[in-house]
């Protein structure tokens, strides 16, 4: 029995962290963001060297054949560094979709190119979670029409994996007729999301998709967002503790005031169990299918709540400085804000968890 990360997983996390510490300090994040992009070319290239695009692609298709827990470890490291690098949708959800529902031919066609970084996917499944502002995509005669909102990792995407209203997944080329991508501006400058408008746009449906693959993708996405939020919260707690150990008021460091210590203790006490929950959710995704969707909901909703608490509390520990752009703490604050809302905020996700357990009339 071993509940925790393997040595390989720890090493993977460390190499991502080390690489980002070198290539993507906050100044760099800020530079990329201020240039209006959510993709750091240098970080992306270096992470590709580690094999991230093929992390979950089976070895037979040129990938590393790793599981969701490995991906989760990477997501936490990315969140910790507020790295402007597409990952959850592009490197994990898109290949998982093909693995879950692609025909052999489709897998052979797409997976090696994903692993090699030759195709870059954005993923649009948000309508399966919450449909807003008239969004929704219909499929008729092999073509898609409608709007997909909050398409993830859309910057530099040359293909999209889109769920239609029945939950079936389709591959659409960014060059296809009748496709228009509108970048959405969010609080979080380190991730890109878009609105995809489709008008009779030709699409390739995943061959073996009975509609269940989208649920699985959403579960994976939720676990990765939870992991990202966890990493960002770790970073905020560390920064709050460090700042409190150095800032002096009333002739002593503020970290010696109990009010400040207790804020930090509360953050740590709430955040630490999230780590265990996220790890278990990732493990269940690969190894305990019967529990996977439910624990993914728990991980998403709970880290969403804890993340919000940590984000505001760590900011408060920094006083006025926490509120400034100069310090840049807000990059983590906003990253956590993004992770909380996307693919379902806590209430939405909890309602799904209730339905999964047959606890509501709708679910029965």
């Amino acid at each position: 029995m071993d509940f925790g990360l393997s040595q390989e997983q720890q090493m993977l996390a460390e190499s991502v962290t080390r690489l980002l510490r070198e290539l993507s300090p906050l100044d760099h994040v800020r530079q990329v963001a201020e240039a209006g992009s959510a993709v750091s070319a240098q970080s992306q290239a270096a992470l590709a060297e580690l094999g991230l695009p093929g992390l979950v692609v089976p070895e037979a298709h040129g990938g590393l054949g790793m599981g969701l827990l490995d991906a989760t470890v990477v997501a936490t490291a990315l969140g910790e560094a507020v790295a402007p690098v597409p990952f959850a949708a592009r490197n994990v959800m898109a290949p998982l979709a093909l693995i879950a529902a692609g025909s052999e031919a489709q897998q052979a066609q797409w997976l090696p190119r994903i692993a090699a970084g030759e195709v870059r996917f954005g993923v649009g499944v948000n309508e399966q979670v919450s449909r807003r502002d008239g969004s929704g995509v219909r499929c008729t005669g092999g073509a898609l029409t409608g709007t997909a909102l909050f398409v993830l990792d859309c910057e530099e995407a040359d293909h999209f994996m889109i769920a239609d209203e029945a939950g079936r997944l389709h591959i659409v080329s960014a060059q296809a007729d009748g496709l228009e991508l509108i970048a959405l501006k969010t609080i979080d400058a380190t991730r890109s999301v878009g609105e995809l408008r489709l008008a009779s746009t030709p699409a390739e449906a995943l061959a073996d998709d009975g509609g269940a693959a989208a649920r699985r993708l959403i579960a994976a996405g939720r676990i990765l967002l939870a992991a990202d939020s966890l990493g960002a919260a770790d970073a905020m707690i560390a920064q709050a503790v460090a700042y409190a150990g150095q800032r002096e008021q009333f002739g002593r460091v503020i970290g010696s005031f109990q009010a400040v210590k207790h804020m930090c203790a509360e953050m740590a006490a709430k955040n630490e169990p999230c780590r265990s929950l996220v790890w278990y959710a990732a493990h269940a995704f690969d190894a305990v299918p019967a529990e996977a969707e439910l624990v993914a909901c728990h991980a998403k909703s709970h880290t969403g709540e804890v993340g919000r608490f940590v984000a505001r509390t760590a900011t408060e520990v920094h006083g006025g400085m926490g509120f400034t752009d100069l310090l840049g703490l807000h990059y983590w604050f906003k990253r956590i804000g993004f992770d909380r809302q996307v693919l379902g905020g806590p209430e939405t996700v909890r309602e799904e968890a209730a339905i999964l357990q047959g606890w509501t009339a709708r679910g029965v």
Binding site: M1, F3, K261, C264, E266, P273, L277, H283, H298, W359
Partner: protein, 407 residues
């Protein structure tokens, strides 16, 4: 990540399950709140020891089962008893705190004399630590013991002494070295509650019951060999086992069982013809608590796994008392809200649910947030030991750092 325990352990799990299936009719029905186990309870405890399902690693010569420590087997036992909803071994202060202390620091004579009847449930102990003036700052305690004719002579007062009324024995912190520094002047004594000069006055608590007492000592004579550890070492003797009490207060199986009871309640209770679980606001809170209980469950698995590897528990462990006690309280709070007006019924009222136990739990769990080191003391510990933040400036010590009290 490998959550299987392996075939050897699964065989062991089967054994435990079989034992429970065959013997569950012998388990005491109302093991709940009583300080002294019933005859049924004592018999059950003895049966469990005999089969190694409690007191498992305690040597045979002291009345235990005498197995090699095996964290996974202990875990499996806890899991299976919890799953079956059958009471496992007794977990009172004597068993959880005194026995480990004696095993670690007691004399051979003390071990032989006290461990066996304590394990068997024949001897009930109470913990005499807190005083009116010394709670979180336990090391400031004033109850004194001077030596006179081969005896310690104890004078003073303890308070919040759980089960003192029912207990046969007390383990008690007293100041024996009046002129030593605060933490160096304390000794750890054990003596019968029938010793002349002890007076116990039950203190009724907010639950309406008397879960604890005031305990007065007037010239109570305790033979000098009834000390555990050396004179003046009592603080360290007591601290050796405070961790056991905190462990007892953060059991993830207990949380899961409370949650299951809450889910059941919300499915069964009806309001306006609908099940309570169909009310969105309450259902949302239920799922939020379920997620937190899951997080604590996996946190517990992580601690267990660290333990097996011989790694320190770290932050995962430091936070357990604070988080688990709060969560238990919140589970009861939701149950009361789910019951609406019925939630206030108590003391055997008509329409009362579950013998008023949700209210009793709600109140008693607040007591557990306070007892065993208050939530605030836990936060001090988390920030100082877990996050390495500066210690509080101490006005009560000449200079230099010292262990933080609070139990």
């Amino acid at each position: 990540m490998d959550l299987s325990y392996g075939p050897e352990y699964e065989t062991f799990r089967e054994e435990v399950r079989d034992f429970i299936a065959v013997n569950r009719h012998l388990a005491p029905k109302n093991a709940g709140r009583a300080a002294r186990p019933s005859n049924e309870g004592v018999a059950w405890q003895k049966l469990l020891i005999e089969h190694g399902y409690t007191a498992r690693t305690i040597p045979r010569e002291y009345g235990g089962f005498g197995a090699e420590p095996d964290i996974l087997k202990s875990r499996i036992i806890a899991e299976e008893f919890a799953r079956a909803g059958v009471p496992g071994g007794l977990a009172n202060q004597g068993i959880s705190m005194l026995v480990p202390t004696l095993l670690e620091l007691g004399t051979e004579e003390q071990k032989r004399r006290w461990i066996e009847p304590t394990l068997a449930g024949d001897v009930v102990w109470c913990q005499g630590y807190s005083e009116p003036g010394s709670g979180s700052d336990l090391a400031s305690l004033k109850t004194s013991a001077r030596v006179e004719g081969g005896d310690f002579v104890v004078n003073g007062q303890k308070i919040w002494t759980s089960t003192a009324k029912e207990a046969d024995m007390i383990f008690c912190l007293v100041r024996t070295e009046g002129d030593a520094a605060k933490h160096q002047g304390i000794s750890y004594l054990i003596f019968p509650m029938t010793t002349p000069g002890i007076e116990v006055r039950p203190l009724r608590t907010m639950t309406g019951h008397a879960e604890f007492n005031e305990t007065f000592f007037t010239d109570v004579r305790v033979p000098v060999d009834q000390i555990v550890g050396q004179r003046g070492q009592g603080w360290f003797v007591a601290n050796a086992t405070l961790g056991h009490e905190r462990g007892m207060l953060g059991d993830p199986d207990a949380l899961e069982n409370r949650l299951l009871a809450l889910i059941e309640l919300m499915k069964v209770e009806q309001v306006g013809g609908a099940r309570v679980i169909d009310l969105p606001a309450l259902r949302d809170r239920l799922v939020a608590l379920q997620a937190e209980v899951a997080a604590m469950k996996y946190n517990g698995m992580r601690i267990l796994s660290n333990q097996i590897k011989g790694e320190p528990g770290g932050m995962a462990k430091l936070i357990v008392k604070l988080q688990a006690c709060e969560l238990a309280h919140q589970i009861s709070a939701l149950a009361i809200d789910a019951l609406g007006e019925l939630g206030i019924l108590y003391n055997g009222s008509a329409h009362e649910r579950a013998n008023g136990s949700w209210q009793w739990n709600y109140m008693f769990q607040l007591g557990l947030i306070i007892g065993g080191g208050t939530a605030q003391i836990q936060k001090n510990i988390i920030s100082e030991r877990g996050l390495n933040m500066p210690r509080e400036p101490r006005l009560d010590l000449p200079k230099g750092p010292s262990a933080q009290g609070g139990q």
